[in-house]
Structures are given as structure tokens and as C-alpha cells.
Symmetry: C2
Subunit: 352 residues, 2 copies
């Protein structure tokens, strides 16, 4: 049901979920992964696997940039468009000052809207792109994100050369990039709803337990989304969070159960999908990083939707909003989670 | 003139400038400044001056957070609203992982959209807020940004205790926060247009010459905006860029002249307005930081518009998209500039 405020009708269901009147189309998408991601159970869903972590560049940061730029260009090519057809480029990443996104934007020469939602970036970007399109401000918007194991490791944790042992709760930053062209018209899965997350902090202090830090925000967003839309987990073929990995995923299930929501087999997480936690056990609890759900949305999930495996998905990005400085200053780690509903052939929305 | 693409009418003039059909209102705003900003020529336009750089906290980072949160809360109070009335909080800052904005969002408990545009953040946020509102997705949106001299100095340059001498081209990071409530209805200056910037890099390498690094992006956005809207500088009471300071401002004037645009006395810059460059000469070329144009927009300019001094302003935020890592790796500094037109009593827009 559309919500009335004053004299106005907002494109909203419930308290805080946006619905799109003419659901924007995910016209094309591209995913690039690293060697370990290529060896994972969804390796075949990447458009390109990069075996060399430096990707022929002089630094891992430059390699990440090259990967993001190639994913972006590939998504545009697959849409049958050129960069001139793209109205806005929305991107962000984990590196300080989102430098990967900035340098990619410099090369693309498209008006650029920089975003930061840590590992929730691809969903924040896709939601904003859909707002730009359904609001009448754009025809085609390019969204992209990336993470790189070595650049994240040395920025957030320790020099890679040090080979620090990780705790069982720790996660492995995914080397991957995802990009998508969101458009006003065309064929493909459509974005029907968006639920932006609140920043929630239950006091987790350990940067090597990020799944636990992000879980309360993930549970809050799922619960708000279901409540707003008056849906149950059964109304979705699958609900997938970003990169909570095995520890965080279990906490989300418990937190939702406490709210009276039984997700059954309708809920999973990108951090447990992207690696085989038994044979690739150096990843500990599973994957993390913007590139985790970023590449899964733009690779695996879009492919499966087009094949008909899924009709309606809730895709959620989950971000741990820490910085090394805040952790050193004794701050706990807040989390945020942004979710979108993606649907095949939804038709015009009027709320319901 | 509205632009046709396919069968659709986009809310756009020219190639890339958005116009708002029902221009969103800047319902209220608040600005907080530090001691030096309070002693500057516009000191009286701040709602609050903080004499102590630690603001009673244990670290400068926590002080910056407190300042941003208070500016945000003050803007909401001045609008006669409560936090419950705000649909979205959009914010960003200069610190790694925009931690100031994240922690403020944690305390506000409003759905949060994190953005990063370096010192262009307040304009990126105000443009996105206006899109959310004119697109029909929100009633009230809170936008905020901040910078703090000591937190920026030690993150980007050197420990404050070291007392490094700055070059004449260097700028002084402003300690200030600005926040604004953008709404669908009410009285106040309205946002009529937004021009998002492209990322432009002419190869400036020196982090102590940021004005020069940002100037090409600023000139590009002004030129595109004027071309899109078929306006001249004479159609504005004033066009103000964010924080180019004296060196960058001169370069913008030269670059615009090369494009055949004579700005005459219609152009100035926040970095030269916020300090008295003669008596406060330790600031070298002038101010910089998200809080510079952030606090000037939310303090000085909103006050002057309400007094009737200005009817139509072009306000632009300018961001230098560097990180200490990218500079160390030999990268040059790209810039970005986002602009909005703010007008008293514009009426309904249909393009023209």
C-alpha cells in the first residue's frame, strides 16, 4: 500500500520500504573473480577469473582498480551500450577514500556518485540507481563495487607478508568485482523494492568477528522488509545476505527466530556460498568484502534468475562500519544492511 | 527543456543537469564551527562555536563525531521535527571508512545512506536528497557532513604534534559541520537543479596543492551546468565553489575564460570566504575540508538567502579524490565537483 504523508503519496510500503512504480531492469551485469573464487563452488558463474593477484600491475591496489574497471566496461558492453549511454556511475569499495571507485570513475568519464556502505555497497548502489531511474532522472545507471584480498588485508589487518594466522570467526576478503547496468527499459530481472538499513551496534569489539557485528543489522533489515511488505520468507525463492559467513549467518537465524520469523531453508549468505568451507578451509568462517555479494549478485544470481531457477529474491548487502582507527580507539563495530527485491516479470507496481 | 530518451521524458535539461519538478525545500539547516572558523569573517553565521578542539572528548575523532551529531540534531530541531519524521540520513566525511558519519548514523537510528565525495559531500548529499524527495520516495531527508582540522591533519599529512610547516599552496582543513533537512514541503530556499560532476585528473601530484587538483573538475561542472541550463554567470547572484582556496579559485577563473565564460564578480570560493587570508595567514591559501562549503551552505548562505541577499545561487562542492596510499604509489589527484542551484520561490519547474 502506498503511504500517505501530508497530501502526498509516497512510493513506499510500510514504514520504510520503497517500491518502484516502474521497476527498473537489471539490463546486464558482469562479475570478475580471483583464483580462489574461481576454485569455489560458484566459480563457473564469473565472466573472468584472474589467476594473478597483481593482474599484471605494480601494486594490488592498481590490480583492484583494473578489475573494477573491466567489470564495469564488460557490463556496459553486454547491455549493447557504450559509456556515452550511461547517465551516472555509482560505486564504492573498501579502500580508504574509495580510491578504487574514484580512479575507475576517472577513466570512465561519466558523472560519478561515490558511495560508501562497506560490503553493502552493491545494494546501496543498486537501490540508488533504481531511485534515479524510477524517479525519472536517468535512463541507464552503472553500479559497481570490488574488493581484493591483499589490499584489504594490508589496510585493515597486517602486511600480507607477515602471514598472520586467523581466528575461526575471521573471514577471508574476496577478490572480486561486480558491475550492473540498471535501466528504465529492457528485459531482465527487475528491482521492485528497496529497504535501506539502519546502523546497528550491539557492541562487538573484535574486527575478526565481523559476521557477528553485522548480524543484528541484517536481521533488522530482513524483519523490517518482511513487515513492511507483509510478506513471509515463503514469499521468496531465497533471501541472501552479503557476507556474514557461517558465524554471522547462524546469529541472523537466531535473531530472526526471536522476532518470530522462521526462515527455514529460504535464507543463505554470500560468505558461505562463495567458498567451499570444507575444502577451502583457510577462509575460516567464509568470505567477506564488497566483492562477495557484489560478484554473486552480478554473476551467479543474475544467471540463475535468467535460467528460471528463481522468480523472486531478496538480496542484501551487509557492511561492517569499522575503521582501524576506530577499533584502536576502543569503539565497537556497527553494521548496516541494505536489501533489494529482484523479480522476473513483476509488471507495474502499485503497492498492494 | 525536458529531455526525451526513448519514449520517456527525463527530468533533465541539456545533457546532464537534473531539474526538480517540485523543487525540494531546504527546510532548516545548522552549522557548527571551530575556534578559528568563529574568528573568521563569517564567524557570526555559525549556530555554535566550539573553542576546544577536543570538545570534551578523549580524541579528536570522537570530537568530530559529537560535532556532526549535534549539527544534525540541531537542524532537525530547527525544522520543528523529530528524528522519527526523517526518512533517510545521508552523510559522509573525510575520515577513513567515513567513520564520523557511520557513528552518527548509529546514534540517530534512521535508515542511512553513506556517501563519499570528499569535500563535495554536502552537495552530493543534497542532490541525492532532492532526488529522493522529488522522485516521490521520501518526505524529509537529513543531510550532513563534517571535517576537523586535527583528524584530517593526522590522517592525511603528519602528526599534529610535529607542527609541520605548510607550503603557500597548502590549505587549512576547516573544523566545522553542516546539516540540513530537505523536505517535500515548507518554506525556505529550494533546490531547483543538480549537476553531478565527472572525475577529472590533469595530473597534479602534490597533496599540498589540492586547489589546483580540484580546479579542472570545478570548471567542468560550472561549464556543463551553464551550458545545460542555457544560463550565464549573470543569471546567478553568486556561484560559489567548495574549497579551492585562492590558488584553485584563480585556476577556475582562467579555465572558464578559456571556455569563453567570464564569471566577472559572480564567482567565489568557500575556501577564501571562511578565513581572513590576511590576518589568519597560517591558513596559507585558505580553507578546505567537507566542513568548509558544508558549514557555509548550512550557515552563511541559508541565512543570507532568507534575508533576501540572494535569490539564486549555484553552490558547488569540490572533492580531491586522493588517499595517502594512492599518493605514495605515484598516482596523481583526480577531482570531482557537484553543483546545485538554490533559489527562493522558484515555483513549479517544467524546464524552460
Amino acid at each position: 500500500m502506498a503511504v500517505l504523508r501530508g497530501d502526498h503519496v509516497l512510493k513506499r510500503v510500510g514504514n520504510s520500504t520503497i517500491y518502484f512504480q516502474n521497476p527498473p531492469v537489471i539490463l546486464s551485469s558482469a562479475a570478475i573473480g580471483g583464483k580462489k573464487e574461481g576454485e569455489g563452488p560458484l566459480g563457473k558463474d564469473f565472466d573472468l577469473i584472474i589467476d594473478d593477484s597483481l593482474y599484471g600491475e605494480k601494486s594490488w591496489e592498481k590490480a583492484e582498480c583494473k578489475m573494477l574497471k573491466e567489470a564495469a566496461q564488460l557490463a556496459v558492453n553486454k547491455a549493447g551500450l557504450t559509456l556515452d549511454d550511461i547517465d551516472y556511475f555509482l560505486a564504492g569499495d573498501l579502500l580508504n577514500q574509495i580510491i578504487t571507485a574514484n580512479f575507475t570513475a576517472r577513466d570512465l568519464e561519466i558523472p560519478f556518485i561515490g558511495i560508501y556502505g562497506a560490503c553493502s555497497t552493491i545494494m546501496e548502489g543498486t537501490a540508488l540507481a533504481s531511485i534515479l531511474i524510477d524517479g525519472g532522472f536517468a535512463q541507464n545507471v552503472l553500479v559497481a563495487t570490488s574488493s581484493h584480498h591483499q589490499t584489504a588485508e594490508r589496510q585493515y589487518r597486517a602486511p600480507n607478508e607477515q602471514g598472520v594466522k586467523h581466528k575461526p570467526t575471521a573471514q577471508w576478503t574476496v577478490t572480486a568485482a561486480g558491475a550492473a547496468v540498471i535501466s528504465r527499459e529492457g528485459n531482465g530481472p527487475c528491482v521492485t523494492h528497496a529497504t535501506f538499513g539502519r546502523v546497528i551496534d550491539l557492541g562487538i569489539m573484535a574486527p575478526d568477528d565481523m559476521g557477528a557485528a553485522m548480524a543484528p543489522a541484517a536481521a533488522d533489515t530482513i524483519a523490517r522488509h518482511l513487515n513492511d511488505t507483509q510478506r513471509t520468507p515463503g514469499d521468496y525463492d531465497l533471501m541472501c545476505s552479503g557476507d556474514l559467513a557461517s558465524v554471522g549467518k547462524g546469529i541472523v537465524e537466531t535473531l530472526l527466530e526471536q522476532k518470530g520469523i522462521n526462515v527455514g531453508n529460504k535464507y543463505t549468505d554470500g560468505g558461505v556460498l562463495i567458498y567451499d568451507l570444507e575444502t577451502q578451509n583457510e577462509v575460516m568462517a567464509g568470505g567477506s568484502g564488497c566483492g562477495c555479494i557484489g560478484s554473486l549478485m552480478c554473476g551467479h544470481f543474475m544467471k540463475e534468475m535468467k535460467k528460471g531457477t528463481y522468480q523472486r529474491l531478496l538480496l542484501m548487502g551487509t557492511g561492517a562500519l569499522l575503521s582501524p582507527t576506530s577499533s584502536l580507539q576502543g569503539e565497537s563495530i556497527p553494521g548496516v544492511a541494505h536489501a533489494i527485491t529482484v523479480e522476473m516479470n513483476p509488471g507495474k507496481q502499485g503497492g498492494s
